[in-house]
């Protein structure tokens, strides 16, 4: 490997260990004397705990201890909420329930045993006597009179009522030319399913009183902070290590009960303890995503002009507030209801509701997929209502291109974008006119072919801390970096972000290499160990490069400034005439006066000949907090064919044109786009968490939850437009969530388009074969009935 450049598809440096089975995930951590944990979990959706008998479990082979919620009530504290809203109800959230269980899987006790098999055996020996209570799982029904109540702090199960808007929607629809189209939009509950489940190893140092948590997380530094706040453990005695992490998609972005319990139990038994979540356990104990029930309206004129959108949303929070739960259906949803359109009037009300279900929090896209799905479904629904092409309607209402800030109706400032240019590029690649001709021909042959288009914009690059704090953030959202150039000119950097598949070891090294001219193989990228470097925020919200990469860039500029000054001094030249490129300092017009950055680094440590006032060494730290978010946007186009007789939907073609700003490593960005799109298609066609009315999870394992497999997808066709973001010094926007945001509306618009000539106007996700088949039968029945009525009228 040589010196890398910005924009080059550098192959990943993580891969050699991962393709040979030498990665190190939490379950691969082995410590001397390590015991194993297994949790006893509620088998009911809602119940009072009358008593717990642990005696049989305590006598089981290998069992060291059993702790109930009551045993550890003091030590465990309550799980925190990291985002405040006005009048937010915050019922206590004990890591182990001790009076009442409020969802299937709520943990009530923990077994400590010599082996994982023995710990799991003993789970079945714990006898919990429950008084079963009525349960409620539907977020809208839960607010009605007579619904079972979860928390006395939250009357009618309402955790918060929140609103956002702009313009005057009520006034706008008084215009007699305005048509209002209403639809109930449901965004179903999803289960994230990172391929590695969660897990934690807690190592208590009896002598020092320190605790080390190895945990599968996206936010090691925040876990350290929150663990310390919850348990009272002094922060300097808490170390959190996120080793190789096997995916997260938002679900590893919180402080979880098991992390707290493992730390406290390790101290109790004075042995290292390990807990690895089973997949079926993950289905109830790891946060779910989405679950919106929404009454939506879109208003516009016959010529296609859209005047506004109105939303009344019931957002299911689950049984307790997970760390970022209040943020997801509010700001990350409501602020995005204008999409890439002028949308002059917006009226959005959100009710956050407690139910007897697993807590709901961020899942890839987190609020933005729900917003984009709603906006794009409603725009296409409106186009269908007025009999116009969905492209024409979109183009008529799109924002003009801008390079440096455009305030929109919800009050936020989009950074940069050329929305029409992006749309046009996607249409050109796709060849829309040809498709419509093909579709007509296919219909004549009795085939159901449909095209769906979705544009999107998303709020990314999670920072500006002051803004986030004013909206309710409980912590700063800046990012950090440390660059240490060693005396030999090789470098070790510590980044505050915490990759779990994003390839930061490659991309961050690539950025260092492109700035300093040091070969990629000479750069070690450290992350995820709170004792190895400065505080960092973590990886979520497509923020790592836009905030963390920018923090790294700023450290690199400091290194460049110092080495430039030192090199000029050593070369005895005026700094004005000293150039730096490809790792070499040179004096203009003097061929033999050069120094490599490696030589300059050596001199910085030798400190034998430094300029006046310069400190020895070569190490720089930066904390970057941008002035604005970054706003990726784009256009996705999907073609589906539906089998008439079975209702089976097949995605035939998928074109995505995204604007991620500048792109550091196209290979990695494309890979993330593929994965995001696949998750969006999964939501549109197959995935759904299903509860019974009394709180049992029917889709409770990988056998019952339809995770997409390789045979569900065509080869996706990707392209890009580039509007550099003015929000950070490297002009990047973020690419982790875009695919998931755009794909579900693109697919569902295609499904509805394929059935539009039958009179289908909307369908809820997932568009399973059964649902589609029924829609076809219902539509045909309605057409027959209409024909009969018409005949009778004659």
């Amino acid at each position: 490997m040589a010196v890398a450049t910005f924009g080059e598809s550098v192959k990943r440096t993580e891969d050699p260990r991962l393709i040979t089975g030498r990665g190190k995930y939490v379950d691969d951590v082995r410590l001397t004397g390590m015991a194993h944990l297994a949790f006893v979990r509620s088998t009911y959706g809602h119940a009072n705990i009358k008593s717990i008998d642990t005696s049989a479990a305590l006598n089981a082979p290998g069992v060291i201890a059993v702790f109930t919620g009551a045993d550890l009530q003091e030590e465990l504290g309550g799980l925190p909420v990291g985002w405040m809203l006005p009048d937010l109800k915050q019922p206590p959230h004990p890591p182990l329930a001790y009076e009442t269980v409020r969802y299937l899987g709520d943990a009530v006790a923990v077994i400590v045993a010599d082996s994982a098999y023995q710990a799991n055996d003993a789970v079945d020996l714990v006898e919990v006597d429950y008084e079963v209570l009525p349960a409620i799982v539907n977020g809208e029904e839960a607010t009605k009179d007579g619904a079972p109540q979860l928390h006395e702090e939250a009357p009618n199960n309402i955790g918060f009522d929140w609103e956002v808007g702009g313009g005057d929607y009520a006034e706008a629809i008084k215009d007699p030319d305005v048509i209002v189209v209403k639809e109930r939009i449901v965004n179903q509950r999803l289960i994230p399913n990172s391929m590695e489940t969660r897990g934690v190893v807690a190592d208590y140092d009896v002598g020092k009183g320190n605790i080390t948590l190895y945990t599968s997380t996206q936010i090691p530094h925040l876990v350290k902070l929150l663990f310390s706040l919850v348990t009272g453990w002094p922060e300097q005695k808490v170390r959190v290590i996120a080793p190789d992490v096997g995916g997260g998609f938002g679900s590893k972005l919180y402080l979880y009960a098991e992390e707290v319990v493992a730390g406290i139990v390790a101290r109790q038994v004075k042995r290292p303890v390990k807990w690895i979540e089973s997949r079926s356990e993950a289905y109830v104990s790891t946060a779910h995503g989405r679950d919106h029930i929404c009454d939506a309206e879109i208003a516009g004129k016959k010529d296609g002009e859209i005047v506004g959108i109105k939303v009344d949303l019931y957002a299911n929070l689950g049984a307790y507030l997970s760390t970022f739960a209040p943020l997801i259906p509010t700001y990350l949803f409501g602020l995005m209801l204008g999409g890439v359109y002028k949308m002059p009037n917006i009226d959005c009300k959100v009710h956050g509701v407690f139910t007897n279900t697993t807590p709901v929090d961020a899942y890839r896209g987190a609020g933005r997929p729900e917003a984009a799905y709603l906006v794009e479904r409603m725009v296409s629904r409106f186009a269908q209502e007025i009999g116009r092409d969905p492209i024409v309607v979109r183009r008529k209402n799109m924002l003009q291109a801008h390079k440096n800030g455009r305030e929109v109706t919800t009050g936020v400032m989009y950074d940069s974008g050329d929305y029409k240019g992006n749309l046009n590029k996607a249409l050109e690649i796709f060849d829309y006119k040809q498709f419509r001709a093909d579709q007509r021909a296919a219909r004549r042959e009795g085939k159901l072919l449909g095209v769906g288009i979705a544009t999107y914009i998303e709020i990314c690059g999670m920072a500006p801390s002051a803004v986030a704090s004013s909206l309710g953030a409980g912590a700063g959202l800046w990012e950090s970096s440390n660059v240490r150039v060693h005396p030999t000119g090789k470098a070790t950097i510590y980044i505050g972000t915490s990759p779990h598949g994003q390839g930061h070891e490659t991309t961050m090294a690539q950025l260092v290499s492109s700035e300093l001219g040091i070969p990629v193989e000479d750069i070690e990228v450290l992350h995820g160990d709170t004792d190895q470097g400065q505080f960092g925020t973590g990886t979520f919200g497509s923020r790592s490069l836009a905030v963390g990469g920018a923090a790294l860039f700023n450290s690199l500029q400091k290194v460049k400034a110092k080495t430039h000054r030192l090199a000029s001094h050593l070369l005895e030249a005026d700094p004005k005439f000293v150039t730096f490129s490809n790792g070499t300092f040179a004096v203009e017009d003097i061929a033999d006066k050069t120094l490599t950055i490696q030589e300059v680094a050596g001199q910085a440590y030798a400190a034998a000949n430094l300029p006046d006032g310069m400190e020895p060494g070569l190490e720089e730290v930066s904390f970057f907090d941008p002035q604005n978010f970054a706003w990726p946007n784009g256009t996705h186009i999907c073609v589906v064919e539906i089998e008439q007789d079975t209702g089976k939907v097949e995605v035939q073609r998928y074109v995505a044109v995204d604007d991620f700003g500048n792109v550091l490593n196209p290979m990695i960005v494309d890979g993330m786009t593929h994965g995001g799109v696949a998750q969006g298609i999964g939501q549109a066609l197959s995935e759904q968490a299903v509860y019974t009315d009394d709180g049992q999870l029917l889709s409770g394992s990988l056998m019952d939850y339809a995770l997409p497999s390789a045979d569900m997808f065509p080869m996706m066709e990707l392209d890009r437009t580039v509007s550099p973001s003015p929000s950070n010094p490297i002009g990047v926007k973020g690419a982790g969530e875009a695919g998931t945001i755009a794909a579900s509306p693109a697919v569902m618009n295609a499904v509805v388009d394929a059935l539009a000539h039958l009179g289908v106007m909307h369908m809820d996700m997932p568009a399973t074969s059964e649902k589609v088949w029924r829609a076809i039968q219902d539509a045909k029945e309605a057409q027959r009935a209409a024909r009969a009525t018409a005949r009778a009228a004659k």
Binding site: V63, S194, A710, F713
Partner: protein
Amino acid sequence: MRVYLETSGKGPTMSTEITVTVNGTAHTEAVEPRLLLAHFLRDVLDLTGTHVGCDTSQCGACTVHLNGEAVKSCTVFAVQADGAEVTTIEGLADGDTYSNVQQGFWDEHGLQCGFCTPGMIMTSEALLKQNPNPTEEEIREGIAGNYCRCTGYQNIVNAIGAAAKAGK
């Protein structure tokens, strides 16, 4: 095969002695009859490259080769592998030379978080052994028993295609 009872601890545990050849090395160990092959490889032999991603035999992360056939090692008891030859992800490369499939995964960016990767690679190896020149559709069907949540499978399909090409 020898079976005996251990009486240490709070109760007797039945153990069975098995010999399994893993990546060319024979290992003789006493194991509980209920021990899964996946856990034998990971926890007894410390070969942690084989991952466990589910508890219902769906995800395929634990795929290894048992006497040359791809199996989900969470669905095989260790005692069933007594006398057998097992190849895991750790045994695939020849020294510093990766197999064509491993190289394909690296070249084509066929992995992101890497957790499904060992199983995906072992399945791909078996697929190419059966069908050295698969079509895209055959590749997609061939790996449909392995889940990946990061890549949308696209670059995995490309990686297997590249490996097939390199194998010609």
